[in-house]
């Protein structure tokens, strides 16, 4: 299986070479064989006796991240969709994309996506699944941005990336929690440990994390906003990624994990509610669209909502219906997208206001659209697969599980009505799509091109899909026991009873619901001129787009606002903030950990008058540095402190230090005088009182901190210093009598070596600083 998953990715590496031949051979022709081969490889698994397969290939075993591929009914259904529709889409694209386009890019992205999507539905390892999941987002991003010279494409690409990667990361969070709780990275092993997950207390959080991933990917309300903008991608991409496969990854995820969540009532509440709202809202919104692909995008959102809702119901019948609808939706929606692409290609516009009466020009396309739209609308004809799954959906809404939770039981009551309400609009937009484009007055003058029927090559793919619609419609049990049932078993994680699907059930609620949908739908469709005004009253989808736009814009503005408020380039501000934090934290820690306690006054030396005098002079000089406004005096007063230190060193019996300090201080003084000979005179510190107080506070804070920590450190007498060793060995091992010198050149010779290095670098740096200036002046 690893070959099936990775072949598209590997083949993508050769595309750049193949696309060089594109003048002779359309790159798509090479690509075509990849999905076709995968489809043929997997189709043989279909059958009553199918049993799941499992292959593992090691990747990072030490992290339990391995290519662990698991093919059960659910995966098989998806794999066939991915490869089957993939084949048709590639074939369609050969006619759709002209050779002057950047075909190489297109097919690389498409193949990347194919691998990724196959990986998502086949991986049993959660992190491999996550990796492929993000790769689908990335390839989708690149495909939406395929025509990136258009502003709308860039906008759509960025939007889809932000929303789907946000979801992906959230899902990643959920997967991490699951892994940590169960100690495994295998989805199947996780499902076996439901008890552990439930008792961990993290179930609600995991649910939120995983569902955010699923809802964003499958464009559920209110994350659906990226999908309409994704329509900027070339139409084959819309048909493939944004209708048949990628957007169903979220559905797949929920289906895959529903065995874990189904015990939890909030799973039902959240998933059903979001699903049904999505169904209603998007179908309502689809009617107002003017772009053909816009209608189809909202329609896709709405249908995904319906499938999602069914997974939320969690009953056996609902799951079965959901799986069945995944297949049906792929067939009719795929064909409709391709028809929309044909119309765009042959008339030059997708704006339904400019289209009309195309039936005479494009009879084949019209026929295809007829089947597609009527199937989508759920019109009760025995040759339309859409009707069957819609009917199963209605049936599922009327047979929900009993629930003790108040919200859940309210939802159980409301769902059938919402389902009908949403389906009415589904009916309306389906009719709107078909009749708006193919019947009515011709508006040829509005069209950029003179319309004509598409070349046969372009029609083949939608024809095959529509044949699928009809075939499943006529023989609904064709794929039932061999595929759908296995898929449902994959979701439920146990055997599912065989459900016979047939056209006529009798006058039971689902059929009545269907009749209501068709009846009210026809009325609404015919009278839509009169009621479409309500879209002005209810602003609709734009409001969520506005939220997104605001959010993205505000992220930039908000972060610029925050950052510029403190990153002002002012050293003083930076220092104040750093000092403030150090003072606050250190004092807090000192007091909470009892740092400043057990202060002893025992182990101290006597103080002599000379000591006090020197210290006092130094203190005075140090304080004077603040108040002096004359640069020469300032330098001299600083010198006093420095020379004071030298004297202290003498008093404190550190002769080497005293000497060094004396030399360094003298040289420093000279340097100071040299460097500042040219500089302006000191100005008065004209600062506000507030600034002065802050500065004073920070200064005293640090001073007090150092003194207090120093006293506390001095008071602790737990250990002897290692210095005794130096005294003992300075002569015997070091061969010197000046212990400090021996330490410097021998025991800690490395310090001294690099201290000199520092000095060397400084010298070189100063030299180059001065030399650069000289060079500049010379120029």
């Amino acid at each position: 299986m690893i070959f099936a998953v990775l072949i598209p990715l590997v083949f993508a590496l050769f595309i750049p070479f193949l696309s060089k031949l594109k003048d002779k051979v359309h790159t798509g022709i090479f690509v075509l064989f990849i999905p076709l081969g995968i489809f043929i490889y997997f189709i043989r698994f279909i059958g009553e006796g199918f049993s799941p397969l499992h292959h593992t290939y090691n990747w990072i075993p030490s992290l339990n991240i391995n290519f662990s591929f698991y093919l059960d009914g659910l995966s098989l259904l998806f794999v066939l969709l991915i490869s089957g529709i993939g084949t048709l889409v590639v074939f369609y694209s050969i006619y759709y994309l002209h050779k002057t386009e950047k075909l190489g890019h297109f097919y690389v992205y498409l193949l990347m996506f194919m691998s990724a999507m196959l990986g998502v539905v086949l991986s049993d390892n959660v992190f491999v699944l996550y990796g492929f999941w993000e790769l689908t987002s990335i390839s989708s991003f690149l495909l939406i941005g395929y025509w990136h010279h258009r502003e709308r494409s860039r906008y759509g690409a960025q939007k889809s990336m932000l929303i789907t990667i946000f979801g992906g990361l959230s899902m990643f969070g959920g997967l991490i929690l699951l892994t940590v709780i169960t100690g495994t990275t295998s989805i199947r092993s996780m499902i076996d440990q439901i008890d552990l997950i439930v008792s961990s207390g993290y179930l609600p959080l995991i649910l939120v994390f995983i569902l955010l991933g699923a809802f964003t990917k499958s464009a559920q309300f209110p994350f659906h906003i990226w999908l309409p903008d994704a329509m900027e991608a070339p139409t084959p991409v819309s048909a493939y990624l944004h209708s048949a496969t990628m957007v169903k990854a979220g559905i797949y995820l929920v289906a895959r994990f529903s065995a874990i969540f189904v015990v939890y009532e909030w799973f039902f509440i959240v998933v059903s509610l979001v699903g049904i709202i999505t169904l209603v809202w998007a179908s309502y919104m689809a009617v107002r669209q003017t772009d053909l692909k816009g209608i189809l995008a909202f329609s896709t959102v709405s249908q995904l909502g319906m499938i999602m809702a069914m997974l939320g119901f969690g009953t056996e019948a609902a799951v079965f219906a959901a799986v069945f609808h995944i297949l049906n939706h792929a067939t009719f929606k795929g064909s409709l997208f391709m028809v929309a692409g044909i119309i765009d290609h042959e008339t030059g516009t997708r704006d339904i206001r400019k289209l009309g009466g195309l039936l005479t020009f494009m009879p084949m396309s019209a026929t295809l659209a007829l089947f597609g739209t009527f199937s989508m609308a759920g019109v009760p004809f025995p040759f339309l697969n859409g009707f069957y799954s819609k009917e199963l959906f209605f049936e599922a809404t009327t047979n929900l599980n009993e629930n003790s939770n108040a919200i859940a039981s309210f939802l159980t009551e409301a769902i059938p009505y919402l389902a009908v309400f949403g389906s009415i609009f589904t009916f309306v937009y389906s009719m709107y799509f078909f009749f708006g484009v193919f019947t009515g007055p011709k508006k040829l003058e509005l069209l950029p091109k003179k319309p004509h029927e598409a070349p046969i090559g372009m029609l083949i793919s939608p024809i095959i899909l529509v044949l699928g619609v009809i075939l499943i419609g006529l023989f609904p049990n064709l794929v039932n026991g061999s595929l759908i049932q296995h898929a449902a078993e994959g979701i439920r994680n146990h055997a599912v009873a065989y459900t016979d699907i047939h056209f006529w059930h009798g006058f039971i609620p689902p059929f009545i619901m269907s009749l209501i949908v068709v009846g009210v739908g026809i009325i609404l469709f015919l009278t839509r001129k009169y009621w479409t005004k309500i879209y002005e009253a209810i602003p609709g989808n734009l409001s969520f787009n506005k939220v997104y736009d605001k959010l993205v814009k505000n992220v930039d503005d908000f972060s610029a606002g925050i950052t510029n408020s403190y990153m002002t380039g002012s050293l003083k501000l930076y220092m104040s903030l750093i000092l403030g934090v150090i003072i606050a934290f250190s004092f807090a820690i000192m007091f909470t950990t009892g740092g400043f306690s057990n202060i002893s006054f025992n182990d101290l030396e006597e103080i002599s008058i000379v000591d006090i005098a020197i210290v006092l002079i130094m203190v005075l000089a140090a304080i004077c540095t603040i108040f002096i406004n004359n640069k020469l005096s300032l330098i001299i007063v600083t010198g006093i402190v420095g020379f004071g230190i030298s004297i202290l060193f003498v008093l404190l019996r550190a002769p080497d230090l005293a000497l060094t300090q004396l030399v360094v201080e003298t040289v420093s003084m000279a340097l100071f005088l040299l460097a500042y000979y040219h500089l302006p005179e000191l100005r008065k510190r004209n600062e506000t009182t507030a600034t002065s107080i802050t500065n004073l506070f920070l200064a005293l804070g640090i001073g007090t901190l150092i003194t207090m920590v120093g006293i506390a450190a001095h008071s602790s007498d737990w250990f002897d210093t290692i210095s005794d060793y130096f005294v003992e060995t300075a002569y015997t091992l070091g061969g010197g009598t000046n212990i400090v010198n021996v330490i410097l050149v021998d025991m800690r010779g490395l310090d001294t070596l690099f201290e000199i290095t520092v000095l060397g670098i400084a010298a070189l740096a100063i030299y180059s600083l001065i030399k650069v200036r000289k060079n500049k002046e010379a120029e």
Partner: protein
Amino acid sequence: MEYLILILAGILFATAIYNILQKQLLRIIIGTVLLSHGAHLVILTMGKLKRGQPPILDDSVTSYTDPLPQALILTSIVISFGITSLLLVLSYRAANENKTDNMDEMRGESNE
């Protein structure tokens, strides 16, 4: 004695910080000089003060002051000297190029 020196070190730190928080470069650099003085005094104190003779071996002496802090201070003095010199030249050049020695006027634009 130790605590007296520690208080002196604290005062040196405080005056250093106060100067570093000023606008004019010269004051800031003076601040850093005071800072290193303060730090060196802390190092010295941590080895306890005056507990014996200067650390130069002599048969007549039995106890010496702690030599290790003195060695550390020597290293530190040299390094501080290096940095101070660099900082001086750097400030001089920066002030010349930017035509100001006021750090407030050396903030820069947010998008350069």
